[in-house]
């Protein structure tokens, strides 16, 4: 009796579940179909590129001195006698089964190669972007809040250097100073020669594999190898992220709702982080996602200087040896990364901006 009395009528009420479930389901379906369509477009483009390249795929397999009958057999085996649309469908079918063909350089399936090189890039890029975000965002906010102060000037010079110094020069100087002279970090490569293939490959990312295996010697060695290239990539993205953060923040700090927050009697720290920063999250996500995607594409120069067996140097090597299967396979993976990051940032928008709902 008295227990059933509703004395909580002023509690905030929630919308019924069915009202929130349906739109969520619709959004999911829409998102998935947009991924499918974009992916189809991407595959179509890579397929066309593969066909218009002035490289004869048959010749690069059989060699120049093969007989006409061998040539014809391979020609047929590759399905090149079929109409283009049928070839495209074959290609689609293969890609959906993660079959990108065989690398002409090492005669291994391209998918195996990618499974080996992509985690290396993923590891490097993730550490780099973490570095860039953790330092770049606070630096940008600080530069905006103390606009015109020495902090702002230092941040500006730092970013300018990051933008304009060629990354290969910074990489070489870094290696010379921190590896060659000071000996603080490991040299090129992912781990020292003694630690190669010591821990079983689970994720392909040595830091994680070593941690999973509990082998902290390998972890330390791998960390000393990755820290320099990761800082370099991080510095590069820090330059961009901090400048963008600064300009986003400046725009918000001059907004009238900031005055409202101050009128309320709020501390400057809360005004900055609870009010202004909340409003730049969406823009910041775009910037960070794009930087991350750029790093995941493989920073060719960094990977070459540090002998990092990542996807950037893989695609470049393949391109220079006319290994089209490897190039196209790598391109599809990079494209897929861009698509997924885009979708992910779109989803985050909806979480952070009520107006996007």
């Amino acid at each position: 009796m008295a227990l059933t009395e509703d004395n909580n009528e002023r509690r905030p009420t929630r919308a019924p579940l069915s009202d929130t479930l349906w739109p969520a389901l619709k959004t999911a379906v829409r998102t998935l179909s947009s991924i499918a369509v974009t992916l189809l477009g991407l595959l179509f483009i890579t397929f066309i590129i593969g066909r218009v390249m002035p490289i004869d795929p048959v010749l690069s397999i059989v060699g120049e001195r093969a007989s006409q009958s061998t040539y014809d057999a391979v020609y047929e085996q590759l399905g090149l006698d079929k109409p283009l649309i049928v070839q495209f469908l074959y290609y689609l079918w293969d890609v959906l089964h993660l079959d990108f063909g065989t690398s002409l350089l090492n005669a291994r399936p391209v998918s195996e190669d990618i499974a080996r090189v992509f985690p290396a890039t993923l590891e490097l890029a993730t550490l780099g972007i973490l570095f860039g975000v953790i330092l770049g965002v606070p630096l940008g906010v600080l530069a905006a809040v103390r606009k015109g102060s020495w902090i702002d000037q230092v941040a500006r010079v730092l970013a300018l250097v990051g933008y304009s110094m060629p990354i290969f020069w910074l990489g070489l100087m870094g290696l010379l100073i921190f590896y060659g002279i000071l000996g603080w970090v490991g040299g090129p490569g992912r781990v020292g020669i003694f630690y190669v293939d010591v821990v079983p490959s689970v994720t392909g990312m040595i830091l994680i594999d070593a941690a999973l295996d509990g082998n902290w010697d390998v972890f330390k060695d791998a960390f000393s190898h990755i820290i320099l290239p990761a800082s370099l990539l991080g510095y590069y993205s820090l330059a961009y992220i901090s400048r963008m953060t600064r300009s986003f923040m400046l725009e918000q700090l001059s907004a009238e709702y900031i005055t409202t927050a101050r009128v309320k009697g709020m501390s400057e720290w809360d005004v900055i982080w609870k009010h202004a920063f909340k409003n730049i999250r969406v823009q910041l996500i775009t910037v960070i996602a794009l930087s991350y995607a750029g790093l995941l594409e493989g920073s060719v120069l960094t990977e070459i200087i540090f002998s990092w067996p990542g996807i950037g140097s893989y695609i470049t090597t393949a391109l220079l040896s006319a290994d089209m299967n490897a190039v196209l396979g790598g391109t599809v993976v990079v494209g897929l990364v861009f698509i997924l990051l885009n979708i992910f940032s779109d989803l985050l928008y909806k979480v952070f901006d009520p107006r996007a709902k």
């Binding site: 002023r10 905030p12 005055t259 952070f352």
Partner: protein, 286 residues
């Protein structure tokens, strides 16, 4: 004799620029009791700057100088920034022009009102929630529970401004500065918002500084009016005697308004006299 809440003496607001120091407010003095004090003037006359200077909200490089800005006898200029935070919101509050910009677009209205209350009252979230609902009802918002969950972009201008008023009055301040509170609203809801503000200010015995460029509105709504021109007060008068104002600037403003009862083919154009801006400021003290 009316008790004095706020006493401003010789207030200056200066902005250093490359071309020298620009004085936005030049030696303004006035007092405010538990009354409705109007400040009128054209754009750039320094009326908004006066309001913001009282709350010490002029950001560097802007400089606020005054002999004193006394709030019930205590000089606000002597306070540290931290002590000022206890004044803002709790003792002096401000409603700005356009609720579209003065509410945080990514926070729910409920969170913003609750925050305003909890900054100055250490109470539980649910107590603050209930208090916020009461406050929303006090500014005639029906369906207040839904509004608490809503975001500013889902509100109309009139509702937004009533929410602003609720948010700024919830810590129960003694003085409200209303900086053009109805200029961004449709004419049809202006009156409603003003009436609500008036009622709350009267009930709570607050002092109101009403900043506006609308002479007729101020004449209707306020007790006393300061007319500002080029950073100075050129005339002070009772609101109901505004139409008998003597200063040529005030007269010029009044004459340039169209009147229903005395239509004219051509409205007068204000002829500015450089001497007005050089004349010393009139005191608005009672």
């Amino acid at each position: 004799m009316m008790s004095v809440l706020l006493d401003v003496e010789n207030l200056w607001v200066k902005f250093p620029t490359r071309q020298g120091v620009f004085d936005a407010v030049r030696g303004v003095s006035f007092t405010l009791g538990r009354e409705r004090l109007g400040i009128v003037g054209e754009s750039g006359s320094g009326k908004s700057m006066t309001g913001r200077a009282i709350l010490r909200l002029i950001r560097p490089p802007g400089i606020v100088e005054a002999d004193h800005i006394n709030l019930e006898g205590v000089n606000l200029l002597d306070k540290t920034e931290k002590e000022m935070r206890d004044v803002r919101g709790q003792r002096i509050s401000m409603v700005m022009q356009d609720p579209k910009f003065s509410l945080n677009p990514v926070m729910t209205i409920g969170d913003q009102i609750i925050e305003a209350y909890r900054l100055h009252n250490s109470v539980s979230k649910s107590a603050a929630y209930n208090k916020s609902l009461e406050m929303l009802e006090a500014v005639s918002i029906r369906d207040s529970e839904r509004v608490m969950r809503a975001y500013p972009h889902e509100m109309s201008g009139g509702m937004g401004q009533r929410i602003m008023i609720a948010m700024m009055l919830i810590p129960n301040p003694e003085i409200l500065i209303a900086d053009e509170p109805t200029s961004a609203l449709d004419v049809s809801v202006q009156r409603q918002v003003l009436d609500i503000m008036d009622k709350l200010v009267k009930e709570r015995g607050m002092g109101l500084i009403f900043i506006s460029h609308d002479l007729n509105l101020v004449a209707d709504f306020c007790d006393r009016v300061l007319i500002m021109y080029a950073g100075r007060i050129v005339e002070v008068c009772d609101a109901d005697k505004l139409h008998d104002a003597k200063h040529p600037y005030t007269r010029g403003l009044l004459n340039s308004l169209p009147r229903l009862d005395a239509p004219r083919d051509r409205l007068e154009v204000l002829q500015r006299d450089p001497a007005w801006s050089d004349a010393p400021s009139v005191s608005g003290r009672v």
